[in-house]
Amino acid sequence: MEFFVTLIQVLDSTIRLATPLLLACLAGLYSERAGIFDIGLEGKMLISAFFSAAVAAVTGSVWLGLLAGIGASLVLSALHGVASITFRGNQLISGVAINFLASGLTVLIAQSWFQQGGRTPSLFGGGRFEPIEFPFAEAISGVPIIGPIYSELLSGHSILVYIAFLMVPLTWWILYRTRFGLRLRAVGENPAAVDTAGVSVVGLRFAAVAICGVLCGIAGAYLATALQAGFVKEMTAGRGFIALAALIFAKWRPWHAMWACLLFGLLQAVALRFQNIDLGGVVIPVQVMDALPYILTVVILAGFVGKAIPPRAGGEPYVKER
């Protein structure tokens, strides 16, 4: 029974930790499916985390904070779009620049705004996303097995968690069942064909980059206003890159992205709870759990366990005429 309680707790924490990964991963999915590589997920999450926490702290409204976070993330998205679509610059270099820009600006602005060493004041009350209790969660929590699963695991998360997981079927539907999705995938595989069909490559790619910005914005806001109560320096802690890893792990597909993010979230949750794990004499150090998402991604990339093939036109700026 004790094992079951621990399991529920770890899985509960898995869902919390997988949420920002999932949002960022889906963000990257839209962008990369449209042929725009984005290694700036980390930076967009970070700047959104700061602005959402800052605005939530000042106004006391977490919803205004969310909007501000999405706005800030969109500004960086626009920059990435201008650099890589309009001026046909190197998308990877632009992503690197965006990560550093966010990393520096957040501390700089936080220091001049709040003078608390690069953090925002702690959020409380309306400044945070509160957990949502499902109906009857309290009543059936005593039922064995089902009770804890319903009231502990599924109920009691903030609204952003549910939004993140609802985004998975929605993304699948948009990508594979709508005209926009078809065009989005086409523009990442063969932009010339899309252009010939009379559809704007530039427009589609900007749309994809904008969706990416919105989702990264939500991911950042979740970190600062739901998972934690306020912004601290470098609080994304590489999550943007784990999301990128999950995206490759999932081979750029929405449902697989969810499972990949849950797996990486589980690794984080286990590392958080157990530190060094003793498996009958063999001790797995906590650093192995930290590195595992990256190692798994390299293995997948190496093509030893199924091959990860990115969208064909990914990373290539589109030139109409040569």
Partner: protein, 364 residues
């Protein structure tokens, strides 16, 4: 026909990009309520106004020369090595092992051995992404990013569980023995009555970095291998047609790149800290990207850009000391430099090309 003269490509475009980055940085300083002119003054006196300041500026510049050259060599083969940070971390591990586990009679032999160890470890860390890119087509940018994180976890493990001296709480190795301490600028240039570079960390590795610049220049422009690397970078199909093996060039270029990034450790680990600590690289691997972009992947350009970034680093530290501007200002400037010289290159280039074409037509 070239669209514009060579000097415009080599000097004018980086200069304009740099000015744009500087203007935006000044605006950022204004926006947080500080005076940009005062800030620049403070930075210049702090970083260049004394031999002490220079000692720090050149110390940072040494790091950036190594990582900048690393990125530049890979750029010539059109490979983007973001893994300099991880390779430099592993280089640090190589240096620490050479310095701790072997008794050296003199620092000069130790420096040679440590340099070799650093280069080997750095190259080894670049080897796997290189192999995966060459043989399995896995994107080198993604794999090197992943390897940065794996390196950080690995180093953490080594320092916490393996190399930490008994009874120490600090995740760091023991101090290196006295005999492997490198001569600092203070001991090299001070006279009895006039102490120069007092307490500054610049050391003999600076000259190793200069040597590395020359060697890389000779390698890229004066050897057959360098020619093959450049040919491969310009056109893969052309290179294959000329009998150059993409697999061989990819792996060799990345090994050299990783070795150069690893070599940085003789400066920061052996020269300055004299033990291996967590996060000893302090992001220098990433600054190498900005340095290589600004230096147009030419060793002399890398040298100049490294000095500039050394100045920014030391100046930024002084700013953080005397004003309320945090050190992260440098990260913003670094981001703007990468943005303008790298990603937004065409924004500066396109209008200039139009201008030069127009001038040429007018002259005809």
């Amino acid at each position: 026909m070239d669209k514009m003269p060579k000097w415009a490509d080599v000097v004018l475009i980086p200069l304009i990009s740099l000015i744009l980055a500087a203007i935006l940085s000044a605006l950022v300083i204004l926006a947080i309520g500080e005076n940009p002119v005062e800030a620049v003054n403070l930075m210049v006196t702090g970083a260049l106004g004394s031999t002490y300041g220079w000692g720090y500026t050149l110390y940072y510049a040494t790091n950036f020369m190594f990582t900048g050259l690393a990125v530049a060599v890979a750029f010539h083969a059109r490979l983007f090595n973001i893994g300099g940070e991880g390779q430099a971390m592993l280089g640090g591990l190589g240096v620490a092992m050479v310095c701790l586990y072997i008794d050296w009679p003199h620092w000069s032999i130790a420096l040679l051995a440590a340099g070799l160890g650093a280069a080997l470890f750095g190259a080894a860390w670049a080897a796997i992404p290189a192999y995966l890119q060459a043989k399995r087509g896995s994107h080198i940018v993604i794999t090197t990013i992943m390897f940065n994180f794996i390196a950080a976890a690995f180093l953490n493990y080594m320092l916490v569980n393996v190399m930490r001296p008994q009874g120490s709480q600090d995740p760091a190795t023991a101090r290196f023995p006295e005999t492997v301490h490198l001569p600092t600028f203070q001991s090299m240039f001070s006279t009895a009555e006039n102490v120069m570079f007092r307490g500054a960390p610049a050391n003999i590795s600076f000259f190793v970095a200069l040597l590395a610049c020359v060697v890389v220049w000779a390698l890229i422009w004066r050897t057959r291998l360098g020619y093959e690397i450049r040919a491969y970078g310009h056109s893969e199909t052309g290179a294959v047609y000329a009998g150059i093996s993409p697999v061989r060039i990819t792996i060799i270029a990345m090994l050299i790149s990783g070795a150069l990034a690893g070599l940085m450790a003789i400066n920061n680990v052996m020269g300055e800290a004299e033990r291996l600590v967590l996060n000893s690289t302090e992001g220098a691997g990433f600054i190498g990207i900005a340095v290589a972009l600004m230096g147009r992947s030419h060793p002399f350009g890398v040298f100049l850009a490294a000095i500039l970034f050394g100045f920014l680093y030391q100046g930024g530290a002084e700013l953080a000391l005397w004003t309320s501007i945090p050190r992260e200002l440098i990260v913003v400037i670094q981001a703007l430099v990468i943005l303008f010289t790298g990603a937004l290159d065409n924004m500066v280039r396109m209008p200039l090309e139009k201008l030069f074409l127009g001038m040429r037509k007018g002259a005809e």
